[in-house]
């Protein structure tokens, strides 16, 4: 190969799906799907349930032969390859693997070598190296001798990833690798894949969680109704209009305040959104804590007010951008009596108050006290309050008084909690959190 040919080889996408259509039974599942995955990239396959994500992955690994079109991996048309050859090009981490037998972890990972070995071939040095290396990279080496039935769900997921790595394929497919994991294992799994792609592996993963997909993937492919709706960089794919078309649901797209990645907040569906008409919501935030609720609530059609916030804070800027009526105090200044009165007045006018998981200092206590007087309170609790309390016992007392009357929710549930709260009468509100 000449140098120019080498260069062309490297430029060519590792995976090219060309106009693939698949019909299962009588149901067309994929219709004219085309997409590419570049070498060394981590591409997320997103889309609603039933969009055809799993079917597309199965067409790529050769489990299904497309009715039309073709899948090319590393220059080879997958449908023309026997299963063993295809399995040396594409490794698959399935959504769930039946591992209800007592193979130990090492033996399970070693099964990844199956496509590299003839039926009678002995176990070689290269096999051993591939298995050890795969276990090392996924961090399963430390429990290599435990039975697979005795490891946790998160560890098992990593064992299956290790098995796929032991296949030493240029392309790695993952079907919902985070579906059954808790938040910390979801992040660990995606970080692992991210590291692997940095080290030269190419990965295509069907991912349910749009925000995780946006955070970790180099590019996204949005599949809806068996067709590629759009593909490209996460911020280009995840827009309010494409999400509405794909998922039929309204969503707000913002930047995540911490990671800076594109962040999607799904909104209650349109029927319930009518509850927003004319309803007033006051947001108690501060710093950057209230911004995502300001954005989400105003996008959902509520008449939003906020304050008191410090002039120049992220919340103040967000409010100004969205044209939200805001009570401001000078930077670093406490909420004085005038500001407190203004906040109480907004709270009294509001149909509901959202209290973000803000940091409470002595200067912002009047905000909490004002909020406690509202009819309907939605209290967002992400971090424990103890970590956010800078006002000592007074802060704790004010917070507890507020919490006793509030509907306590996780950050992502705040908007729907407001909608639900507004449908209930104020008297129907639980005084004690259940």
């Amino acid at each position: 190969m000449t140098e120019a040919e080498h260069a062309r080889e490297a430029d060519r996408p590792l995976l090219a799906v060309e106009d693939v259509s698949v019909t299962l039974g009588d149901v067309p599942v994929l219709e004219g799907v085309s997409m590419t995955v570049d070498r060394g990239s981590f591409v997320g396959l997103i889309g609603p349930n039933g969009a055809g994500k799993t079917t597309l992955l199965r067409a790529i690994n050769g489990a299904i032969t497309p009715d039309e079109g073709r899948v090319v991996v590393d220059g080879e048309v997958v449908a023309n390859l026997d299963s063993r050859t295809a399995s040396r090009l594409v490794a698959t981490v399935p959504q769930d693997t039946t591992l209800s037998f007592d193979f130990d972890v090492r033996r399970t990972v070693a099964m990844g070598r199956t496509p590299h070995r003839g039926r009678l071939d002995p176990w070689t040095e290269a096999d051993e190296r591939a298995v050890e290396c795969a276990m090392e990279r996924t961090g399963v080496a430390e429990f290599a001798d435990r039975p697979i039935t005795a490891v946790s769900g998160g560890e098992r997921q990593r064992v299956v990833v290790a098995r796929a790595l032991a296949q030493e394929t240029p392309l790695l497919l993952l079907d919902e690798p985070t579906a059954s994991l808790d938040v910390s294992h979801q992040v660990r799994t995606l970080e692992l894949i991210d590291d692997l792609t940095d080290a030269g592996t190419t990965a295509l993963a069907a991912i349910h969680d749009l925000n995780l997909a946006a955070r970790y993937c180099d590019a996204l492919v949005l599949l809806a109704d068996g067709e590629v709706l759009t593909a490209g960089a996460p911020e280009a794919v995840l827009t309010e209009s494409t999400l509405r078309r794909a998922f039929g649901a309204d969503a707000v797209v913002t930047r995540h305040p911490v990671t800076g990645s594109t962040h999607v907040t799904a909104l209650p569906d349109r029927d319930r959104e009518s509850a927003a008409d004319g309803a007033r919501v006051h947001v108690i935030g501060g710093g950057a804590s209230g911004s995502r609720y300001l954005q989400a609530l105003s996008a959902a059609g509520y008449a939003v007010t906020t304050g008191a916030v410090a002039a120049g804070s992220t919340d103040a800027a967000t409010a100004r951008r969205l044209g939200i009526e805001t009570v401001t105090v000078p930077p670093q200044a406490p909420v004085d009596d005038d500001a407190a009165a203004a906040v109480r007045e907004r709270v009294a006018r509001a149909d509901a108050v959202v209290v973000a998981d803000l940091t409470v200092g002595a200067g912002t206590l009047p905000n909490l006290n004002a909020a406690s007087e509202a009819d309907r309170i939605v209290l967002v609790e992400g971090r424990p309050f103890a970590e956010r309390n800078r006002a000592g016992r007074a802060g704790r007392r004010a917070y507890e008084r507020l919490r006793d009357r509030a509907r306590v929710v996780a950050p992502e549930d705040a908007v729907s909690a407001v909608t639900t709260a507004l449908e209930a009468s104020p008297t129907g509100f639980p005084l004690e959190p259940p």
Partner: protein, 338 residues
């Protein structure tokens, strides 16, 4: 290479146990022969001169009366346990046994028909031939019924097997009603027994040995198939082709055993489970260990069957010994998973 060493050690050990069982079994019977004498007689063809002290009648009893039956027990046990391991792995179902695709029911229909109405059968098939043909026709029929578009989902195969077994059970019951004089012979066949064994019976059942040698290289495929078919495919196994081959070989091995011994239950179900508890799920060790364990188990069971004052069909012994032992294991160890 750890696994090969483990497979070798287990096979050697269990082979020695089998040899011991054969000697003990050949010593037991109406005329008691000391085990030492039996051992010398058996070694005589291999080591000339060792058997010089063995008397003529003892020699005749061992070689002409007892050994064919013991050898038959060994190969039938070997066959059923081999097929049992393959079927359990293949179906990923702990309740699978060698007869799960209807092999035994088909053999029963063939054998019972040959006993009850010998003239109705074509080509003058004997009981063995009819049983063998019935077994293979049934297995193939179940396979065809469960296949669609080149794929054979194991769940469909399992259900088709159960339905066909039920149907053939009705046929056997009907034939039993009309068996008249031959009822006792039919019942004896259905219970499974090894009496009147001849060396030609042994030769028929010994098809298990080449069958085993074909299956052994597929041990790794069986391991990978335990992960499920989608995973097996993504690991490079030609799933449908492998399934066809495993099913065909296991069915032929079972059919040959059932044709000469009748329906001997429980060996193919319980022996693989017991050995799986002992040696683990790796088929490269499990397959030879189960085959040899099955041979030993049936040799000992048949010794019990013929040792009492009145001989009983060996199928009764295997069930009477195997079921309680299996229940004991079930209560004390984890046998729920494969």
């Amino acid at each position: 290479m750890r696994t090969a060493v483990r497979a070798g050690l287990w096979s050697g050990g269990l082979l020695a146990v089998l040899a011991g069982a054969v000697v003990v079994s050949a010593a037991i019977g109406p005329a008691s022969i000391p085990p030492g004498t039996v051992a010398r007689a058996l070694l005589d063809p291999l080591v000339p001169g060792v058997g010089a002290a063995v008397t003529r009648p003892h020699h005749t009893i061992v070689f002409t009366v007892r050994l064919p039956r013991i050898a038959l027990a060994a190969v039938v046990g070997f066959a059923l346990a081999t097929a049992g391991v393959v079927m359990q792995g293949f179906f990923r179902n702990p309740m699978a046994d060698p007869s799960i695709v209807g092999v035994s029911s088909g053999a029963a229909v063939g054998a019972v028909a040959a006993i009850v109405a010998p003239l109705a059968l074509p080509f003058g098939l004997g009981v063995q031939g009819a049983a063998f043909a019935g077994a293979l026709l049934t297995a193939f029929g179940v396979y065809l019924l469960a296949s669609e578009g080149g794929r054979t989902p194991v769940a469909t195969l399992l259900l088709a097997g159960i339905a066909v077994q039920t149907l053939l059970g009705a046929v056997v019951s009907y034939l039993l009603l009309h068996s008249g004089e031959s009822l006792r012979q039919v019942v004896y066949w259905l219970m499974g027994n090894l009496s009147n064994a001849t060396w030609s019976d042994v030769a028929v059942a010994a098809v298990a040995i080449p069958g085993f040698l074909v299956l052994l290289p597929f041990s790794r495929d069986l391991d990978v198939l335990l992960l499920g078919e989608a995973d097996a495919h993504s690991l490079g196994i030609e799933v449908e082709r492998t399934k066809r081959l495993l099913l065909a070989v296991a069915s032929v091995v079972t059919a040959a055993a059932v044709a000469v011994s009748g329906v001997i239950g429980f060996v193919g179900l319980v022996v693989p489970h017991i050995l799986r508890l002992v040696v683990g799920p790796d088929h490269r060790v499990l397959l030879p260990a189960s085959a040899l364990g099955g041979a030993t188990f049936l040799v000992l069971s048949d010794t019990v069957a013929r040792a009492g004052p009145a001989e009983v069909p060996v199928g009764i012994v295997t069930a009477a010994v195997g079921a309680p032992f299996f229940l004991y294991l079930l209560r004390t160890r984890e046998v729920h998973a494969l």
